[in-house]
């Protein structure tokens, strides 16, 4: 009898231990206030702005162990950081952020190509990428929304025309325009460019109504919802935070059931990703079952994706029942990303404090898009925390 009891108890204990360690490690959400998140945002903005070059180029990356600045650069990431600065200006209203965004913008304006009736930018000589131009247009639309200034309206129209001429009748977006052939590169699509273009066109459609941009953006949103993953050969459905942004900015009355279904599916993916991230400590046995805390850009994209969909939850536009969970995930992310950010005190003892302070590192390396995506996610979390405090 005692032996059988011991056997059964052993099975229970072993099952509980395996479940706890492998399947459901604790989801750690450090408590955080709106003030702390605002400070985290300011520190991240500091990293971006303080390391911004006179030519409008951002610091790309920094390897802490090697004490080496990355010589690489990437046009989509440049446009993405600029867009994120305009998001931050819209949320916080600090003119210094707007000035920094405009310096990043000037880098792109210096590299604009015009052709037929459209405009687009790229690094000199490179084929024109949809992703970088989608984010340029999204940034310009956010800037217009935040400032009300029409000064870039003509450029917005030009870049929107570039995106639309890259669009196929199905809504698919060809990723590049070939300078030599003077035509879109056929049959090349990107995992992110499609959503970036869709979001930019939706934002522009709202800012410049009556010009057809919203309809063009929705065509691509519907393509993403209905056929993109299968048509472009993805094994699993893409966790596309840019598509989430697009859905978050579609006028609510235009959210039909297919678009809401896409929004719910994306919210589910981001929620799972953020729950998983909260389980990561990067220490002891957890390291073996969950690996290191995720790359900041990866965590941040999930956070900004769910923050974009928060609009639909607040407005009860098909996601009202998910609001509590969405807000819980956003605030949880704010807690652990605040903890993971390099503080001023931590940076002070490092070889080059200015390259580390305010950054998030993944295994000793930080990159501009890490700061960008987490910053955008934290802006959403700040909105939730300020709403709770009010």
């Amino acid at each position: 009898m005692n032996r059988r009891l011991a056997v059964h108890l052993s099975v229970w204990i072993a099952a509980a231990a395996v479940m706890r360690i492998v399947v459901v490690p604790a989801e750690t959400c450090p408590p955080v206030t709106a003030g702390q998140v605002r400070n985290t945002i300011d520190e991240a903005l500091g990293w971006i702005i303080d390391n911004l070059g006179d030519d409008g180029r951002y610091l790309y990356g920094y390897d802490l162990a090697a004490d080496r600045v990355s010589p690489s650069y990437n046009s989509a990431r440049h446009a993405g950081v600029t867009m994120s600065l305009y998001q931050a200006y819209e949320a916080l209203g600090d003119p210094a952020i707007l000035r920094a965004g405009d310096r990043g913008l000037s880098y792109m304006l210096d590299r604009i190509t015009t052709h037929d009736n459209w405009a687009a930018w790229s690094e000199p000589g490179a084929d024109l990428p949809v992703g970088a131009n989608g984010l340029l247009l999204a940034g310009l639309a956010l800037r217009r929304r935040a400032t009300g200034e029409p000064r870039h309206d003509e450029l917005m129209g030009g870049v929107a025309r570039f995106l639309v001429q890259q669009q196929e009748p199905s809504g698919a977006i060809r990723s590049y325009w070939d300078r030599a052939a003077e035509a879109p590169v056929p049959n090349v699509y990107g995992p992110f460019a499609t959503g970036e273009a869709a979001w930019a066109l939706v934002l522009t459609g709202v800012q410049l109504p009556g010009e057809g941009w919203l309809e063009a953006g929705l065509r691509t949103v519907d393509y993403i919802a209905a056929e993109r993953d299968r048509a472009e050969g993805y094994l699993a459905r893409l966790p596309d935070h840019w598509a989430a942004y697009a859905l978050g900015d579609v006028p609510f009355e235009m959210l039909d059931s297919d678009r809401v279904f896409l929004a719910r599916r994306l919210a589910g993916y981001f929620g799972m990703r953020l729950r998983f991230e909260a389980q990561r400590t990067g220490e002891g046995i957890n390291l073996w079952v969950r690996w290191y805390p995720g790359p900041p850009a990866g965590v941040g994209t999930a956070g900004e994706g769910i923050a974009a969909l928060h609009n639909l939850a607040v407005a009860d536009a098909g996601l009202g029942d998910l609001r509590a969970n969405i807000e819980e995930r956003m605030v949880c992310l704010a807690g652990y990303m605040t903890e993971r950010q390099v503080s001023a005190a931590e940076a002070a003892v490092l070889p080059r404090p200015e390259l580390a302070r305010g950054a998030w590192f993944y295994r000793g390396y930080t990159q501009m898009d890490g700061q960008q995506h987490v910053l955008s996610a934290l802006l959403g979390a700040l909105r939730v925390l300020e709403g709770e405090a009010a």
Binding site: R4, T28, N325
Partner: protein
Amino acid sequence: MNGILLVVAYLGGFNPARARLSVPETDGLRARPGVLAAGSLLAFGAVAALAGWSGPILEALETSPETFRLAAGIMAGLTVALFIVWPRPATEPELAGWKAALWPVAFPRLVTPVIATLALSTGASDGVPGSLIGAAVGLVTVNLVGLVPRRELPDRVLLWAGRMTAVALMITAVFLIVDGIRDV
């Protein structure tokens, strides 16, 4: 989880046909009805306690109900494998008299790891009433199957019925895992 799946989950977790193979019996090869009923009540109480306190328990474990659904699904999947590979439970020594309701009926036969994780998961996600209805249906079925004398219901039938019930539990396992992944 809808009501039907809740019932399927608890039926699959209790697996009445398999449980029937290892509960105290009368000389007439029927399950001892009083002992089986009392053991079922104890199991029902355990489900009620776990489902009722699922919120504080999961909070103490720092686990969201959505993530715990994954754990319940994986536990259900492992249990399905156990049911299929090992369809006849081991014969347990019995406590004398009514104490047999506690051992081996309530524990280890009815209150198992899969029932415990299901109670925590469904209590937190689907509510206590739904969990209790699901558990009640499963336990009533356990008692009904116990009324049938083993000589009229050959072991082979019970073994296969146990396996078929395991397949039903697999459906629940898949649902829980997919739901745990897709939920926010």
